[in-house]
Symmetry: C2
Subunit: 368 residues, 2 copies
DNA sequence: CTGAAAGCGCTTACAG
DNA sequence: CTGAAAGCGCTTACAG
């Protein structure tokens, strides 16, 4: 029962050329020791035959799989797509593949997920730890993306500095009473962001923090945050520590008839997909995920190299020189001067119509 | 230069027990041919030594990698997390790993992504094709998740039926003039959904379709859809074909001072993360992604088996008996009877305060 | 500059 | 019921 071969192997190329497999290997890997002419012939023949190297065989031989694991705290997190995309790109750029593992927000599952990845022989892994979790030393290099203030962190966005950006922005707008909105008291990311916002606001601003303990759970649905009361109490700035909370705040305020941004400002974090399209568009701050991913992968590559050289298990958390990358403020319409009439905000209407309205839209065919 | 061994191999177990590696293999795989007692001894010794099988070696030997590829049209799609999670879980349940590939919404990149996966030796792949794209036969089994009406589709949510659910809901609420909102004319998914909504609304309802051509591009930001004019023109139902568009519609209407759901209803699609938390919470329809993923993976497993048996390349698109799975309507506050005062919707206030407000919130430490 | 040989860790006919 | 042997496709010292 011969295995179905999808493409020729090195021996086939070697046979076709009357040389040895070792020579084909050397020629293709470009590690020298083969005359330029022969190397060319080999390359040409390989292309001609549609040769695709077996990464599995290479992995078995070299002990390196060429695969990185990505474990995320909660795959349902709206930030996940961006992180996954950034890591996948960074990994692909250095010839690595990415195996995903979902930890479903659960600590036990996170450990299982890591083990599954280990069994599959990943050379290293990127983990975005579930909040309030530390990653133990496992059998391979690990790059942790959390916050700069977390022990064991490898690389992360500078959440504190991002918070400062928001704080300064709000104070410049003239806000003097700001409500911070977070969802998880035990999240390092959120605490850093909140610390940063307060620092950015400075001592002259009165602020309070509202923790929405379970934004997702049953009962979280449709439960209002009491923001209208806050407005009545004099709050004019609402700085959510995530775009999801910001959206929640924005819609609640609008629903209560409170003008954003004429009367109050709302800001978020992370520049999630909806932030540019809601009305008013959400002021937020974004992470440079591409850079973070590049640095995380680079750190992993260094550790993997080192492990191979040192022969000893260089496994463990990996660190890199700059452990934080700056966040960037994106000012949109949801933040403006406090108080009625303070800003010349473009009134809602007339509405520019940028979309075409077909008279006879085409529909797909039903299959029933 | 011995490779760093993280765990003993079969030979080590065999040596420790004075038996052959073949016997260890047979005992561990449970494929019989080993006395129960010996098998037990082997298992115990394996556990004792912390044996972890090398999936790479197994892959090389059997020609099966135990890995599935997942290629997504646009990893930034907010639905991605749910799909990835569902596929990862379904795959893990049958002992498979999942390698991701990002096609960045680009057709050429989609092909590259597929090739990268192929080179890594995936046994099969799940692809959610970019809209208006067909997946050519590649060298391995492929499960396509698109729409039941798309040729080559393996399994998908019944988008048309989901649309019908929305249509019927709106017509029951009394809406007689409905605006459908979509973003991509060439999307089979959106066209099926729109067809379904129209079918559900029936002939008695007047409807029109608004295509927001580039919701993401520059210039899409903050550009209003002219919904207030639509309301003035008598539209009371706004059925978006995605929750993102629904959110856009909802906030635009709110911003214009139009009460949702007292005056108009807004509905979405997909039950994305924000739909339960906005105010008013979004009525939407959800796919049963877990079932879809299970069926896709099961179809792939069958094809992989068949390929091994048939010896010939059974590669190509895979089909399964039921190619569609029903969608489920989730009624929330954003949809209600049309016209002012028609519904006893709970007025915005007094606000129940379900969140605790700490006096001295703890902040993380700045690292500057 | 090129080749023969060994070996990564498994699984699988085949013999005993 | 158990073992010796071959081999998946590579890479890497080591000889020539």
């Amino acid at each position: 029962m011969a295995v179905v071969r999808q493409s020729p192997n090195m021996s086939a190329i070697a046979a076709a050329l009357g040389v040895s497999a070792a020579t084909v290997s050397n020629a293709l890997s470009g590690k020298g020791r083969v005359s330029p002419e022969l190397a060319d012939k080999v390359r040409i023949k390989a292309a001609e035959l549609g040769y695709v190297p077996s990464l599995t065989a290479r992995a078995l031989r070299t002990g390196r799989s060429g695969v990185l694991g990505l474990v995320l705290p909660d795959i349902a997190n709206p930030l996940f797509p961006q992180i996954a995309q950034a890591i996948e790109n960074a990994a692909a750029a250095v010839g690595y593949g990415v195996l995903i593992a979902d930890s479903r927000g659960d600590i036990a599952t996170q450990t299982e997920a890591i083990n599954r990845l280990l069994e599959r022989g990943v050379d290293g892994m990127v983990v975005v730890p579930r909040r309030a979790t530390r990653i133990a030393d496992i059998g391979c290099p690990v790059a942790v993306i959390d916050t700069p203030s977390t022990p064991g962190n490898t690389i992360a966005a500078d959440h504190w500095q991002g918070g400062e950006l928001i704080g300064r922005h709000l104070v410049q707008l003239g806000h003097r009473r700001v409500l911070l909105i977070g969802t998880h008291r035990d999240s390092n990311v959120q605490n850093d962001r909140i610390g940063g916002v307060k620092a950015g606001l400075g001592p002259g601003v009165d602020c309070d923090t509202l923790w929405i303990e379970k934004v997702e759970g049953e009962g979280g649905e449709g439960c209002l945050l009491g923001l209208a009361d806050r407005v009545a109490a004099g709050f004019t700035g609402f700085a959510a520590v995530s775009d999801l909370s910001a959206l929640r705040a924005l819609t609640e305020l609008q629903r209560a008839g409170i003008g954003v941004p004429e009367r109050v400002s709302v800001t978020g974090f992370d520049n999630l997909i909806w932030s540019p399209v809601v009305t008013p568009a959400l002021t937020t701050v974004r992470m440079d995920l591409a850079t973070i991913a590049d640095l995380a992968v680079a750190a992993l590559m260094r550790a993997i190299e080192a492990e191979a050289d040192a022969d000893g298990a260089g496994s463990g958390r990996v660190s890199s020189a700059p452990d934080r990358v700056a966040m960037q403020l994106i000012i949109r319409q949801s933040s403006g001067p406090p108080g009625p009439g303070a800003a010349p905000y473009p009134a809602p209407g007339p509405y520019p119509l940028h979309a075409k309205i077909p008279t006879h839209p085409t529909a797909g065919e039903p299959q029933a």
